[in-house]
Symmetry: D2
Subunit: 325 residues, 4 copies
Amino acid sequence: MSLRVGIVGISGFGGGEALRLIAGHPSFDLVYAAGDGSAGRRLVDRFPGVAPRLADLVIERWVPESLPPLDVLLASLPTGTSAAALARVPPEVKIVDLGGDHRYAEGWTYGLADIWPDRIVGRSRIANPGCFPAAALTALAPLLAEGLIEPGHIVIDGKTGISGAGRGGGDSRFGYAESNENLVPYGLLQHVHMPEIAGTIEQLSGGSAAGLVFTPHLVPMTRGLLATIYCRGRATTAQCLAAARRFYAGRAFIRVTDAPPQTKWATGSNLAFVSYAADPGRNLVMAMGVVDNLGKGAAGQAVQNANLICCLPEGTGLEGAPVWP
Amino acid sequence: MSLRVGIVGISGFGGGEALRLIAGHPSFDLVYAAGDGSAGRRLVDRFPGVAPRLADLVIERWVPESLPPLDVLLASLPTGTSAAALARVPPEVKIVDLGGDHRYAEGWTYGLADIWPDRIVGRSRIANPGCFPAAALTALAPLLAEGLIEPGHIVIDGKTGISGAGRGGGDSRFGYAESNENLVPYGLLQHVHMPEIAGTIEQLSGGSAAGLVFTPHLVPMTRGLLATIYCRGRATTAQCLAAARRFYAGRAFIRVTDAPPQTKWATGSNLAFVSYAADPGRNLVMAMGVVDNLGKGAAGQAVQNANLICCLPEGTGLEGAPVWP
Amino acid sequence: MSLRVGIVGISGFGGGEALRLIAGHPSFDLVYAAGDGSAGRRLVDRFPGVAPRLADLVIERWVPESLPPLDVLLASLPTGTSAAALARVPPEVKIVDLGGDHRYAEGWTYGLADIWPDRIVGRSRIANPGCFPAAALTALAPLLAEGLIEPGHIVIDGKTGISGAGRGGGDSRFGYAESNENLVPYGLLQHVHMPEIAGTIEQLSGGSAAGLVFTPHLVPMTRGLLATIYCRGRATTAQCLAAARRFYAGRAFIRVTDAPPQTKWATGSNLAFVSYAADPGRNLVMAMGVVDNLGKGAAGQAVQNANLICCLPEGTGLEGAPVWP
Amino acid sequence: MSLRVGIVGISGFGGGEALRLIAGHPSFDLVYAAGDGSAGRRLVDRFPGVAPRLADLVIERWVPESLPPLDVLLASLPTGTSAAALARVPPEVKIVDLGGDHRYAEGWTYGLADIWPDRIVGRSRIANPGCFPAAALTALAPLLAEGLIEPGHIVIDGKTGISGAGRGGGDSRFGYAESNENLVPYGLLQHVHMPEIAGTIEQLSGGSAAGLVFTPHLVPMTRGLLATIYCRGRATTAQCLAAARRFYAGRAFIRVTDAPPQTKWATGSNLAFVSYAADPGRNLVMAMGVVDNLGKGAAGQAVQNANLICCLPEGTGLEGAPVWP
């Protein structure tokens, strides 16, 4: 039996990746695509490689009240614009919101699918985590759960590929010629992902994340995200790795590696890679998390959440191996 | 029922892409992987994102006489080294050779799977086409078959991503710092792919390809290949497009597009895109072909050939949409 | 003695490169910078590495009638917008127009500085050649001048870095995520540079360029441009190289090389590299030309033209070697 | 009057950049170039854009005892190989060692040219700083000198372009296809640059750098280096910026910026950019330093040091503005 899925925000990078995953999903059937930037065009006009059976689906203008019958809606709208619009979607349509408006919002479940799958199963309103939180929290969770680091002194140095800035209006700062060969720190001390990271650290540890520091950087690559995290703690590297292997035992999409992870390991997949390096003498525990910012960092996790809310096996349609090189 | 597949040359880019496709293939079971560069290591040590069920498969040193029982062997060995070695493989093991040694060689079928699938079904020894021929011949075939261009005056200007140069021994010319921001013509008037292109043009047209010109260029990108082809002919653009749509009617992996194709349309897929632009007044027909040099240009077509020789539906395991962006 | 120079279009890539070259020029003094996108900001706000003596120069809104006293104006405005505006500049201000409006226009000298320097010396209105013509014509000129190729059958396959598309309004097609790993043919059979290429071929050869074909491609790199050119002729490779060495004897910025040129050889410089490969048996002469599209292809040649019209040594301020890697 | 300069290690990236700078230097005359990888070839064969007057200089095999008469030798040899060889250079030849063997070694002056120029003037043996230390220490020095941060708790998250890994033997890990779209942490807790960073922190602050953490990352770009640094301190952002402006008042190559610096600002230049962001409430001071790893991070600073030891103005030949875009 197929479930009917819609995607809104199909013109953006998150929406496009959702399309790729839904098109290959054995239990989901794409019946609706909306995106103001491409409204009126067929899917094949925007995505020349789309499967022939989807080629002629016409992209619609996004009107929440006039959706076709849907089981699930994946919404990839700019942060700040989704809350009002999604409130108008009929309650019987389940929603996974890839945007930022509903993270830690009332009535919405925060969808860290690899850490809290049980909270998500069967729910109706899921706030998909941000890309940086997906990587950082996946790496931190085992340490916080076992009390191996101090929750109040965490420094996250994040690096993301430029698709993380969104397709937007084509801001020339994100143009090829200006972004290539350029590494750019931004959003210092105030990035929009701070609250969901802090909130989750507190949930996982029971302590305050008051000293959290998070610095994102744009890296000249299309996809890929690495969080390099500096914590205080007296655990050894081996203890951290063992904690992570316990924490993620049996979880399909998390890989705990001895070597520091590289972003290319995850390209095009829903995988997250975590590793650790510690020096008890310096009261230092380093954690590293790698994801594809459009995979586990956006559409991959969104499809995993969609599977969970529809009570399907969480990995359905997400088994594709990373693309290398 | 699963067929037993082996890959030799797993350390290289073609072998790695074959691994990705076989790992996701519903009817093939990877039971053997060999590669001198990685012998003795587990698959997961070379490919950190490989599926857990394949993680512990140990990469072996390549000894043609001591293979495990196999139905199909995909061989991705450097051109010049595969002929002697593959001659020692037992005859009951079917082979798809991604290397260049057997193209248009006696006893081997040239595996242009989208053009001559019937020649391939059930065969035992397939020479997989080179990456440039895969793109150029796919674009040219409809024109040659309908006599719309002169076979004796074809100029192919080819551009490939750097993975097309192979992983090799790490030649510093292909190092990131020297290849980035660099566009390099090479192999002028004498590239190794010339004979198979000329031979196939002659087969398709019945005429001589004596005036063939082919100039490859290395482009600073990992994957992707475009052949821009200049021919003599009096057909219109519409006639060329119509010829291609007739020629490829019902073929799953060929897309005929009105707009000139871009390499990113094919990334990570087995698709080929072809388009045309003609000016009868200048006696000019331009043909364009785009493939992922590791997809349709190597491992994708190899798996398509493996499907055909095993009498499986040719698209099995190859339905994945391109990765964008 | 210093000459007073102004730049209009300072926000764009051509204007920015002009700024870099003028800032290091021993005889030119930048006294005026205009650009609507940055008007009201200081130069240092747009170009953080600008020399301290220029840091506080305020970028003005471009009003042709209210210029400060200037000896030379370098204009880097979008094609289609410069003709009307530059007509309003006082006649005593010499102009080098980097845009396309005045190429082969009455009253303007076409500034192919390495081929026709004598036509430029002391003039007042120079139309700077386009980037593709700069590369292609430099490679073709010696062959045309000596009658080694047929002017009526020339095929130019051009490849440029993405800065060649201009900084524009940040069209998302030129965004990093969509341009990276993408090779894009465009402007088929009708690119805006066709007329100046054809016109110059005719001047150089005395024959008709009626059969000219020109296909530009966008390559995922910031700078660099290669024209691969296919001609009919019976000359040998050695004859072509010898012709080029004769033609460019004593010319400072042209390098004739035995090996096919690579775009990185020219990065950041005013150099052009040309080479040839011929096969008399196939009636084939290949010519190749490499430039930095912002150097010899735009601002470098513009400063060379500015030197010539001011009767300075043409290489003044342009001696910097290419940046490698 | 020209001073006679030699470069050993001309085949590498540091040596190549030194060549570019020396070729444009008004007081230095390149009379000797050595490099085992290119011995016997002319400079123009390795550097096709080199100035004609240097084109025919033959690259020699490196034999320290048989140098021509030289005033200064710039040595860009792999760390671990320069100490023994440079000990054999006659004492009357002044040396700037771009390699790592002599940093904080007896008899050698550590050449942080923008911070301690007076220590360098007239000296004979200079150890050029590493690329990461050049960026990190430039950013930290003002804070340490004024006691605004604790020297014992500094975390440096460093990111460099891939030319920083050297040209080496063409290790395939640094090949284009494997490095592109890949961000790689390495050398965790033990990078070779740690001692010179720690030693200099201690000199500048008078305190112990015992808690220093330094994590380098390889970023998919050719040039550029950013150090993002996390410190403990109660200063405000404004206080940090003011301290830096005091510390570097009148220094030609340091730019203190309000906005966080981007690597492209420095490309091809000898500039360093520093900025700061602080939150006294979190006991946090962030410092950022940007350099071109081959400019201020290697050859640019080496030429600055060569100027100082020859008692020339330190900026001679280094005034070129960054290349943008």
